[in-house]
């Protein structure tokens, strides 16, 4: 009977063990030396060091660019293997946070630049201020992308590459209406109203209640000379009033509050809108799907020009056991020829001032609009509480556009929520 009891116990233990065994999601080759220090990185010992990386790149072009970069790195460091894990965009933040609490993070991550500060605050990323100082290339970068890699005066990463928002326009429609691509808000309003006709809106932008909506609206606040820390000001009211007037006059659909940036691109490429606010990542889509002739100009200015920075940052995690090697890889990615090759293949705009002068971006009128934007592209470097402030701003946008509240009231109310969150 005791035997029976033991066998039952053993069986149940086995079952539990089987259930708890790590599922082999990655075809990990035996990596005996992952836990060993990276040493000098010279590779003289012949040991294989594996660097693990999480990112959300998924298109064929992006994967090809990554493979090429890994291959180039392997030539320099034959003993280093980079093992990449794809994490869907929407899961990456959650997975990083879970990994941070469980102490199971990869060595490297590529994360969206507005999120870096949150993860730095959560203690998921390694402070690389000393290495950055020794490296000494900070001044070569645009201020926007560089500021997104810092939190409370410390460095937590380096830029992967940048993008920003600009104004796409339908050449035929603007020509037919006899208007030029708008350079300021007044021209934008007039142009949008002039080209609008039944079935065609003048302008389309993303006003959805998510970070995408906030991303598209923030540049207008900056153009009007306002910001999140001075939210309750005339500039913010002007910016949201501009959108509201465009909607009320029929130049912009009120459905924009349920459109994301891809929806916006679809409407534009289908000829349902004459202009749109969007980023360079839509260029391949428009070239492939678009039945319209289009061009790109920088976003119209008001008190000043302004656009918003998108793109990713490389970062080393706080739990990485190969920090030295990981930093070595980051330095490799930042070498001019590597930045250029990677940016061209991935559709980024370089984050470095000198590299943007490359003919690839200067001679193409479409890419030039985005390259020109880099000078004043601003990052959402507002600290770890930014997501909450963003939600408050999204609510404000929707309240005004649906007409639930006046611009003044909605802005005042949102400011009360944002003020304690943004230093």
């Amino acid at each position: 009977m005791i035997k029976q009891a033991i066998s039952v116990l053993a069986a149940s233990c086995l079952m539990l063990l089987a259930a708890c065994a790590p599922s082999s999601t990655q075809p990990t080759a035996p990596a005996p030396s992952t836990n060993q220090p990276a040493g000098s990185g010279s590779g003289s010992t012949g040991e294989v060091i594996t660097l693990t990386l999480w990112d959300y790149w998924s298109t064929d072009a992006q994967l090809k660019a990554l493979d090429e970069m890994f291959a180039a790195y392997q030539k320099v460091r034959p003993n280093v293997k980079i093992e990449r894990t794809y994490v869907p965009f929407n899961d990456l933040k959650n997975k990083l946070l879970m990994g941070a609490t469980a102490g199971q993070l990869p060595d490297l991550v590529a994360i969206g630049n507005p999120d870096l500060q949150s993860f730095a605050a959560a203690g998921a990323l390694a402070d690389i201020s000393a290495e950055i100082k020794e490296w000494g290339q900070t001044d070569k970068y645009f201020e926007g992308p560089w500021s997104s890699t810092m939190y409370q005066g410390k460095n937590y990463g380096v830029p992967v590459g940048s993008n920003n928002l600009a104004l796409y326009y339908n050449e035929d429609m603007l020509k037919a209406a006899g208007v030029e691509p708008p350079k300021n808000w007044e021209e934008l309003k007039q142009a949008a109203q002039k080209v609008a006709k039944p079935g065609v809106y003048g302008l389309v932008a993303a006003g959805i209640k998510s970070e995408e909506g906030a991303f598209q609206f923030l540049p207008f606040i900056w153009q009007a000379g306002s910001d999140l820390n001075t939210f309750d000001s005339q500039g913010t009211v002007d910016a949201i009033t501009l959108w509201k007037e465009l909607v009320d006059s029929g130049a912009m659909s009120k459905e924009i509050i349920n459109l994301n940036q891809q929806d916006v691109a679809v409407q534009f490429s289908a000829g349902k809108a004459a202009m749109m606010v969007n980023g360079p990542w839509q260029i391949p889509f428009l070239q492939k799907e678009g039945k319209v002739k289009w061009g790109v100009v920088p976003l119209p200015s008001n008190k000043q020009g302004g656009t918003i920075l998108g793109g990713e940052d490389w970062a080393i995690t706080s739990t990485s056991k190969n920090k030295e090697m990981a930093w070595d890889f980051l330095k490799f990615t930042q070498e001019p020829e590597n930045i250029l090759a990677f940016a061209k293949a991935m559709g980024y705009v370089p984050s470095r001032k000198d590299l943007i002068q490359d003919s690839y971006w200067q001679n193409d009128p479409i890419l030039k609009a985005f390259a020109d934007g880099m000078e004043f592209a601003k990052a959402r470097a507002y600290g770890p509480e930014y997501p909450k402030a963003s939600v408050a701003m999204q609510e404000m946008m929707q309240q005004v556009i649906t007409g639930a509240k006046s611009p003044q009231d909605a802005v005042k109310e949102a400011d009360a929520k944002i003020k304690p969150l943004i230093p």
Binding site: M1, I2, Q4, A5, V8, L9, A11, S12, M15, L16, A19, K93, N94, L97, A100, T101, S118, A121, A122, G123, A124, Y201, I208, K209, S210, E211, S253, K254, E255, I257, N258, K272, P384, P387, K388, V391, E395, Q398, Q399, I401, T402, A404
Partner: protein, 314 residues
């Protein structure tokens, strides 16, 4: 009566030893429960308990790896005071109530219809299931397009029929967005209601209806006095499952409206999601999840109580 006899005989021949091991035997039989129990503890009790534990602490993104404090029920107080909680609770109740009402009534009508014999019935019945089989992402996106104000087919239809003059932005108007999502959810839920009710209807004995017919009961009287009372257990289970399922609906609303415009279609699951995964207030998110859990537990208790009453009357 033969079987126990044989067993006692067998035990007798085994002698005194078996009496001694009796204690161990009952103990060892508990061991057989262990794997199942382990599974329950691991995958059900632990997450629930952990979620509750999280809801009485002050975990957010800035102290995820740092110092965390026990704050008692302060998070619950914060949530109850939040205006967004009242909005999402109200919306959740409207969403669940209306969805279940229409799903059930239409599902029941269709079940009665498909309970009849007519040519093509089986094909029609399986086609009806399509709505239930389709991934929510697809259903939600389809309804988002159909209900779109500028180019939606729904507006086109209503305008052609002359019901409305101007296109209505169903999903971006505060007055209609919640009802737009309810419409989609009703469409999804009808087949499930129909199938469960139909299987209940088919198990009802024919002779009762024959007897009622002989006594001159009308169709309606047959329905009220035979079908409904006999279907009570099925209906109870169905409504219970429906309420639990509908109360937790997240993906459909998330895709169709994202809770907007402003917060017009914001429901509790979206509220919990926003707190946990957008603003990274993990403890507050866990608090909302706990509140939802308690509401559903209370509903389940009512169901169990009704079920027991049902059994007693039988």
């Amino acid at each position: 009566m033969q079987q126990p006899e044989v067993r006692t005989m067998g035990q007798k021949t085994m002698g005194i030893k078996s009496v001694k091991t009796k204690g161990i035997r009952s103990w060892s039989s508990y061991l057989f429960v262990l794997p199942g129990l382990g599974f329950l503890v691991f995958f059900m009790f632990f997450p629930i308990a952990y979620n509750f534990w999280l809801s009485v602490k002050d975990v957010k993104v800035t102290n995820l790896n740092g110092e965390q404090h026990f704050v008692g029920f302060a998070n619950y107080a914060t949530i109850f005071k939040d205006e967004l909680f009242t909005i999402s609770l109200t919306n959740s109740i409207i969403f669940t109530g209306l969805s279940i009402l229409f799903q059930f009534v239409i599902g029941f009508a269709l079940a009665l219809f498909f309970n009849k014999r007519f040519p093509g019935r089986d094909i029609m019945r399986s086609l009806m299931l399509l709505a239930w089989l389709m991934p929510i992402v697809i259903t939600a996106t389809l309804f988002k397009w159909m209900l779109a104000g500028d180019y939606g087919v729904f507006n086109y239809l209503l305008q052609t029929l002359g019901v409305i003059q101007q296109p209505v932005s169903w999903l971006t108007e505060a007055d209609t967005s919640l009802y737009g999502t309810i419409l989609a959810n009703i469409w999804i839920g009808i087949p499930f209601n129909m199938i469960i009710l139909l299987s209940g209807l088919q198990s009802l004995p024919d002779h009762l209806y024959e007897a009622a017919k002989l006594d001159g009961a009308s169709r309606f009287q047959q329905f009220v006095h035979i079908t409904l009372p006999l279907m009570r257990p099925t209906i109870l289970v169905l409504l219970m499952l429906g309420v639990i399922y509908t109360f937790k609906v997240f993906d459909l609303i998330f895709i169709m409206t994202g809770g907007g415009p402003v917060n017009a279609s914001f429901v509790l699951p979206l509220y919990a999601y926003q707190l946990s995964f957008i603003t990274f207030d993990f403890s507050l998110g866990a608090t909302v999840a706990s509140i939802m859990f308690l509401i559903l537990i209370a509903l389940s208790a009512v169901y169990l109580w009704m079920l027991r009453k049902e059994e007693q009357t039988l």
